[in-house]
Symmetry: C2
Subunit: 320 residues, 2 copies
């Protein structure tokens, strides 16, 4: 078997040429129907950073995948990106390594954004009037990019703490045919948008329940992407309590990290109120049933997304 | 930082050109003096094989290492080696990947053989009269090769189940200036050799206590390499009970796998009788004190060996 080493540049080209949304959807469906084997995440803590090893496979598929992703938060001061990593693809039949994807965390960013698009596809109100983006970083950009084929709306309100970052975000995203307004007043997000994506590493709620007044007349969907640890939180637990549908990418994982973890810990939510994204995709569970509902999706990141995106990039390259 | 991808061919050349024994010794010393961070082994079980992920670092070193090693036991019928894998080297300062070592399990085989040589260096009787090798596979060959600089003896008795494998082993190893006798009678190993290395995946004892009669007059050292799981066992637990010194490569790991695990389980040994290889190397613990003693080293394989060998190969290549 020939080993194929794929550079970041080539990975970016491939990703821009294939429709990954249905592929990642299949991953969530496999996960929620218990066809995925995903052992606990390996973790290595160092003085200057941390490393996570996510790995697993979908039964009956061709490959298993090991993903290594690190965050070294002092890198910025050295002019280096904080995120690093790669994905490795091996044969389920023989254990032979078939591909090394030198993605430097790009595929993790991408599969996270695609999960947001999937959540919006199944859960957003029919008429999205304004998209609210919380945060101005890479994920705030990618989430909007991947919403494009899923949602017709091009009106966007972005919230951030700094004017400079907000201006850069507006300039970047207006090139992609969005109309961007910026704000430093977080209350405007819930008051004026009916599809909201949160992308920050906040550790106390940005979106407050008190700003949700009047939403019962219009409905809203919130996708919470930023919180992926036991500490982070972007959304007031009272919003999860009021929500008509609370969706987890992985129920077992959301019990120990993310918004759902926080809301359960503070007594605003109980485990039996949760539904899983893969079950909404394959129709075994009902999601939104009316435009006037409040829905929320908590995305903490599941190894099936890595498995599916790595496999898709490798397959697409094989065909060339 | 430039990523360096090192092929198996190049790895083999480098390994043959550097003295790895003192480097692996340093790894054991770092481990036994608690300067190594080695999280639990990650494990992925598939229908046709299994994958282990070993990773960690030595505090104050430059790199951290992740090793992926798989065994797919049906591969032989496809004409493929059962073992596969690679090692990855990353900066402890920035998380950047500095090297991919495409070793296909070669470095694991090598560092295992070197650990055997280290055990012999510190624990074998002064005058090794005959080396006994149990098994005829790759590890049975490598163990003997790496004993060469450590032990003057060139007389070898090898035990195996099949005449064909024994003949092949003899032909191969006689090229390396050993005088090889072969046997299918395992009792001759303990009766005629005073340095023994076991290298099989046996799950019930091959070396029996009843064949150890008379050894008190001559002394013996046994290095048990084959047993690295909770199930495997090559050495009668009564031999460990009678031994004057029982050495573990990692005490914590040997409590749950290998010969020591078996002997403790059957009540022949207790944890407080164990000493650790790294402590013998750095002199903080006494090993053999007389030629007439029975010593045994149980080698289950520790991630510090992988860390040290990967680092050494990469550094040696840098200098070229």
């Amino acid at each position: 078997m020939k080993l194929s080493i794929i550079s970041l540049e080539e990975i970016k080209k491939i990703v821009s040429s294939i429709d990954l949304l249905p592929i990642i959807e299949q991953g969530f469906v496999a996960y929620s129907s218990e066809r995925a084997v995903v052992p606990p995440v390996g973790e290595l803590l160092l003085e200057k950073g941390e490393v996570h090893i996510k790995y697993g496979y979908i039964k009956g598929d061709e490959y298993y995948v090991i993903k290594i992703a690190s965050g070294f938060y002092g890198n910025a001061s050295l002019g280096l990106p904080s995120g690093n990593g790669l994905m490795l693809l091996f044969s389920q039949q023989t254990g032979e390594m078939v591909s090394i994807l030198l993605d430097e965390a790009f595929l993790t960013d991408t599969r996270t954004a695609i999960a947001g698009a999937i959540a919006a596809k199944y859960l957003a109100p029919k008429n999205v009037e304004r998209i609210g983006i919380v945060g101005t970083g890479i994920q705030a950009r990618l989430q909007l990019m991947y919403l494009k084929p899923v949602v017709a709306c091009r009106d966007v309100l972005v919230w951030g703490r700094g004017e400079k970052q907000l201006t850069e975000y507006r300039d970047d995203m207006e090139k992609h045919s969005f109309q961007i307004e910026t704000t430093t007043d977080i209350a405007l997000i819930l008051r004026t948008c009916n599809l909201v994506v949160t992308t920050t590493p906040a550790t106390s709620p940005l979106l407050l329940h008190s700003d949700l007044q009047g939403v019962q007349q219009t409905g809203i969907h919130i996708t919470a992407v930023g919180s992926d640890t036991a500490e982070k939180q972007e959304v007031d637990a009272a919003i999860l309590e009021q929500a008509d549908v609370v969706v987890a990418d992985s129920i077992s994982q959301c019990l120990v990290r993310g918004e759902i973890h926080q809301a359960i810990k503070s007594g605003h939510l109980s485990q039996n109120e949760l539904v899983e994204l893969g079950n909404i995709i394959d129709g075994t569970t009902t999601g939104r049933t009316s435009d006037y509902q409040i829905t929320i999706a908590d995305l903490t990141g599941v190894a099936v997304q890595d498995i599916k995106i790595a496999e898709a990039v490798y397959r697409s390259r094989l065909q060339k």
